[in-house]
């Protein structure tokens, strides 16, 4: 489902003497349907960078990233927008939403964008929020004022409301209590079972052991940096 070949990336800081910082070279990785691959490596090794490149959030300087039959490294913005809408879900560590929008609509939005009827989309959103133990009294409020754990669960609900064939999960269980962690792990297992290809970053070793079929150490892709 996801196939990465010979991927390279460097940052050029034009305003700091055009410093060139190579962050990735020769990255290879494949993720099959129903498979969960965990990215590992020390902080700053490039796990999030790789994930962002798969999502099209960072540009690539070489190589290819096939998600289904779309090469994210080459695709037009429009193709990436369509890919994100239909195929590729992403649960980041941060919730970025329009203030004032009720939580239930934040969660339902990916479905609305796909043209699902509003009442149906909301019903799905409410099911997920209930399952993730987000108190019902909060559903009509904007998540911008929620606690970290609550925001994280809203973020997860938003990422799972549509059965994406490919999922990117950046620390999905961070800042969750044991009960909610269990719910999230269950959701991820269900996604695997239905055939989703999953790339995850899990600092939670228990979660990693339970979900990941393989581990990919991104330090192998980190180019040597001049000292």
């Amino acid at each position: 489902m996801i196939r990465i070949e010979n991927l390279a990336k460097e940052f050029v800081l034009h305003n700091q003497g055009s410093a060139v910082i190579p962050v990735m070279a020769g990255a290879h990785m494949t993720v099959a349907r129903g498979e969960c691959v965990a990215l590992v490596g020390a902080s700053g090794a490039g796990k999030s960078t790789l994930m962002r490149m798969i999502y099209g959030n960072y540009l690539c300087d070489g190589g290819s990233i096939l998600v289904g039959d779309v090469d994210v490294a080459q695709a037009s913005p429009r193709a990436i927008i369509a890919l994100r809408r239909e195929v590729l879900g992403y649960v980041s560590q941060f919730l970025r939403v329009v203030p004032r929008v009720p939580t239930v609509d934040v969660v339902a939005e990916p479905l609305l964008a796909l043209g699902v009827a509003a009442d149906q989309a909301r019903a799905r959103a409410m099911d997920l929020l209930a399952r993730l133990n987000v108190p019902e009294r909060l559903w009509a409020l904007s998540p911008t004022t929620f606690s970290g754990g609550e925001q994280q669960r809203v973020n997860i609900a938003r990422g799972f409301v549509h059965p994406y064939p490919a999922l990117l999960l950046d620390e999905p269980t961070a800042s969750l209590d044991a009960a909610n962690r269990e719910v999230v792990l269950g959701l991820i297992e269900e996604a695997k079972a239905r055939g989703a290809a999953i790339v995850g970053i899990f600092h939670d070793e228990g979660a990693r052991a339970r979900l990941a079929d393989r581990e990919v150490d991104v330090r192998a892709f980190t180019p040597a940096r001049g000292t």
Partner: protein, 258 residues
């Protein structure tokens, strides 16, 4: 949805004497897409918007719009009556200052109804019903339909301007700093409204702003302008999170973090 782009700009240039307004701008906009244009004051983004919307005559280039039955037609060379019809049916323009886009001496209902009457609506009851419906959609109470915009707050005026523009079901909306000059909380409400309308109506939009937070929430794609030229384009989040051009890097790093 049609198979091709809705709107296409090719080599658009405008000079003010020796000074460049905008130079050699080209892009495609597809149905349902929202494109943000950012840059600092004087970067040419407003000149570009005015050239695209037919308010300014460009010196060179084409501005093509999908006229359904006739395919892509150049709106620069289009006869004036046809362009006016386009401007009051398939296009809309939301000004930064609501007073530039509203008739301040005419009631809210009359403001919303004007475009309908301009395209031939002649039934008072129907026009009024459509006006009340649209006021509701932009969260203005029906009992304000006979009030003049002067009596409205800034945020309400801006929402009224949006209702007035969208009543004929346009396919393309030009927006010039649509949230400029509004309180932050009012901005958020307006952004939410715009996002909902864009999604529900399948609108395409071109939003000019200097506010990167606005484009992050509203735009699918981003175009960064400097000195009248486009220096970078791409997915909005990609341009903001992984800017390639030095100017964009400066722009992004200059934003105050909240």
């Amino acid at each position: 949805m049609s198979a091709g782009p809705l709107f296409r700009v090719e080599g658009l240039s405008k000079r003010y004497g020796a000074r460049i307004g905008c130079a050699d701008v080209s892009f495609d906009l597809w149905p349902g897409e929202v494109m943000g244009i950012v840059g600092e004051s004087g970067s040419g983004k407003t000149t570009l918007l005015n050239c695209m919307a037919g308010h300014l005559a460009p010196d060179a280039g084409r501005v093509l719009f999908d006229m359904k039955d006739r395919g892509m037609v150049d709106t620069v060379t289009m006869p004036e009556p046809e362009r006016r019809r386009l401007v009051r049916t398939d296009w809309a323009f939301v000004h930064q200052h609501a007073r530039d886009g509203l008739r301040m001496g005419v009631s809210a209902g009359g403001n919303v109804g004007e475009r309908l009457m301009a395209v031939g609506a002649r039934h008072y009851g129907d026009i009024r019903a459509a006006a009340v419906d649209w006021l509701g959609r932009v969260e203005i109470a029906a009992d304000r339909v006979d009030d003049r915009p002067r009596a409205f707050s800034g945020g309400m005026q801006q929402r009224l301007q949006i209702a007035r523009n969208l009543v004929t079901g346009p396919r393309l909306v030009f927006m010039d700093e649509p949230t400029g000059g509004l309180d932050v909380s009012v901005q958020a409400r307006l952004l939410d409204l715009l996002r909902g309308l864009v999604r529900e109506m399948g609108l395409s939009a071109i939003v000019v702003t200097h506010d990167l937070a606005v484009v992050r929430l509203l735009a699918d794609r981003l175009m960064v302008m400097k000195d009248g030229r486009v220096v970078e384009t791409g997915l909005t989040d990609q341009v903001l999170d992984d800017p390639q051009h030095g100017y964009t890097q400066l722009l992004v790093s200059s934003v105050l973090q909240v």
